[in-house]
Symmetry: C2
């Protein structure tokens, strides 16, 4: 036999049981997005090269999958570039299209391209795969789904509020028992840099501070020193790393620290608004935590920054997001403030698996299988089957009467069939059906109408 | 301003209204697949090059999108091949992965790879995009969805029967008023070639006959002559081209013609079984027509061949399918008979558009928008909004109280909002909500509970 075929590293096949679980996650997210007024869009899997390249930094550019030009276009390969080891230029000469790397840049392109067909503020959601030429490793894939919601064309803080509610709603719906929504504001970070006299080094500073979780306070101090942040500045800001009070206590401390920074105080004001609103409206299961060390891809965000973690599970963040002020500026349309969030479906899948939170109903297989006893019975059962399906019940007739009962029952087991309908000659003559519950082994006799009634009611009770 | 960004030719963006219509088609197909016992799987967007290449003929290979290798792997470019104009080899040296071209070959690969994790007969459905480097033209895209159902591991004709019922059910559910399921059997075609003494030229013959619809009887005869089919053979088979009787009359004629061909009679027997079963079980809106000229990618199919056309619309087939006996043999697993069908979602979309068959309910926008009158009202409405959403009603609060009423109402219009909730100071004090129906202009006063009750009932009535 030939070698078993396989798929590229970092990609996955999904069997029916996987698809059921993934669909459950996607549908939960989708329903919440819709309920909050977001509308779905879809963009092509590949974009023009120039739409994507240069938007994700150097490292990002390297991780973008490019599509090889077809046919004679390949002859335009820039061999000089290859010789000079200029692989990016060589790649450009061979490819005009690339697979999307995230949903954010295609969304920005979409908004600019269709600005006359949509109305603002435009609230869209998008659940599609993205591709990255990352080295495959545990929990990191070359193809994975992103589930994004964004609003562009408004700077209203009510959207930030809405996203906190959305995180809470989706993750509560998925029965995750304990999770924390961390929140910060880029303007507060700017203020801190300003007050400590290091405005010029805002990014270095926040990149270091963002690692507090991973490398601890000493590690952050060390990195700040290495980056050339002054000792005075470091002394000034380190007390901010271990704020242990309530959100409002911490906020007051930082407010005091930022008293002389206009932008910092603006950040405090924005954050206060959200904390007060959530205080008034309440949350389901989410904890909301102001974390002044939260930065996440800072050069991108300009206002609120979000990150969500499941507590009691060893795993990075499962959701993130924030406000950006000029995303569409990349494509020549300026002045459009936006704010967006993303659910990490793969990580959520892992959390639900680890905590055994997938509902048992997802494992339900086919509702009804007719056993196939012989030619006459087959003819009879085909008519019954048609009626059953006409009542929206998923059902099958075993496809052959040559197969022994044992084989047919094994098929039913493998397919996690709920009920088996047994219609032999006697039942045929009496117009009856023996219905066997495969989980309990119980068997009951029904007319066709009674059986349909029974199954429909059972289904509606789910 | 910079030039407006755009997407590659042959690809499409889908705005919310498009997504709603496409989702309607996909969900209708999915629901029917599930009801018939098919289970969903998903495969990666790209496969290893060797999985795809050589499976679709030379033309197919040229239409496969390849992924350019990243980084240092590009240095392995086979420059000799480029010099010698051997572009296929040059492409191979630069790419190890390729985007899937259809769902059938990945499915065959999947079955072989996961043979120990699935049970047979295995009924799977798969609705995912595929990519082809076709020259973009009207109605032909480089990225489009296929909606496939296949069974492998059984040669039972009950599956062919099931597919006829599935075509009927899906297209009837989509309200297509008049459509024909054409059916033929490869064994009948083999028998005709055998009887006319041209077994060796089966493919040439059937490729010509398959064009009857397009080039007429004279055209077919001309092509048969050009292909070197003997005059005697042509004279023998031409009467088969215009069978004008009923299915059973035509079947009897062909049965007579094939009296000496074992394989031909086997095909007749299979076809008779299906026609009889459908006669006994009935169909909704579909017409079932035996068409002896139907061949569709013949080298692939070994038994039944299906094709579905919407009548009264100028458009190619909207569905197709057939039986293949050795698909998984490509990957070293032989003896697995399979039969599958595919719904052409894009063409179905065009048919529904042309015949104006999309349900009006798809155009329904947001259910409820709260007008935003001022800070106090905003605070009040946020609480109401939370209650409304907790009752699974999709709703928003206009994100700013600085916007004039006119602007807020334009937003409601653009978003096709069904109801606008007006809560000014007076309503706030009285605990009431003015609910305005945006279609009729009618306005009614409710308490929060009454309004929720009204909207939930209305929603359930859909």
């Amino acid at each position: 036999m030939a070698q078993k075929p396989s798929i590229p590293k970092g990609t996955r096949d999904f069997l029916p049981a996987d698809v059921a679980k993934r669909t459950y996650i996607f549908e939960t997210i989708k329903n919440a997005f819709r309920k909050y007024g977001f509308q779905p869009i879809e963009t092509p899997s590949f974009e023009k090269r120039e739409t994507l390249l240069g938007k994700y930094g150097e490292e990002g550019d390297r991780l973008i999958f490019r599509i090889l030009n077809s046919g004679d276009k390949m002859k335009k390969a820039d061999l000089n570039a290859l010789e000079n080891d200029n692989l990016a230029v060589f790649a450009n000469s061979l490819s005009e299209k690339a697979l999307r790397y995230d949903l954010t840049v295609p969304f920005a392109r979409f908004v600019v391209q269709h600005q006359n067909e949509i109305s603002f503020p435009f609230k869209r959601y998008q659940i599609q795969p993205v591709w990255r030429a990352d080295r495959p490793q545990h929990g990191r894939y070359q193809e994975f789904y992103q589930c994004d919601a964004d609003v562009v064309g408004s700077d209203s803080l009510l959207y930030e509020l809405e996203y906190i509610q959305l995180f809470d709603e989706v993750l509560t719906s998925l029965h995750i028992p304990d999770f924390t929504i961390k929140i910060n504001n880029r303007k507060i970070l700017s203020g801190i840099a300003e007050i400590s006299g290091e405005s010029e080094r805002l990014i270095d500073m926040t990149v270091a501070i963002d690692k507090l979780d991973k490398i601890g306070q000493d590690g952050v101090v060390k990195e700040l020193e290495e980056k050339g942040i002054s000792a005075a500045a470091i002394a000034k800001i380190t007390p901010l790393f271990d704020l242990s009070g309530s959100n409002s206590e911490n906020l007051e401390k930082i407010r005091g620290f930022l008293a002389e920074s206009e932008i910092g105080l603006k950040g405090i004001e924005e954050l206060s608004f959200l904390l007060e609103q959530i205080e008034a409206l309440g949350l389901n299961r989410a904890k909301l935590e102001f974390d002044v060390t939260l930065a996440r891809g800072l050069n991108y965000y300009t206002g609120a920054i979000f990150e969500v973690k499941a507590n009691g599970v060893k795993m990075g963040s499962i959701c993130g997001g924030g406000r950006y002020d000029d995303l569409t500026g990349l494509f020549g349309m300026s002045g459009m403030s936006g704010v967006g969030i993303s659910f990490g479906a793969d990580r959520i899948y892992d959390v639900l698996t680890e905590l055994q939170l997938f509902p048992a109903s997802l494992e339900k297989g086919l509702t009804l299988l007719f056993v196939n006893f012989g030619e006459k019975e087959q003819q009879h059962c085909l008519k019954l089957l048609k009626e059953v399906r006409a009542n929206a019940i998923d059902a099958e007739l075993y496809p052959s009467f040559d197969a022994k009962m044992k084989k047919q029952m094994k098929y039913a087991d493998d397919k996690k069939v709920e009920f088996v309908a047994i219609v032999g000659e006697e039942e045929m003559n009496d117009g009856l059906i023996q219905l066997k519950n495969m989980a309990t082994g119980e068997q009951e006799e029904f007319s066709l109408e009674e059986m349909i009634d029974f199954l429909v009611k059972r289904h509606n009770a789910y």
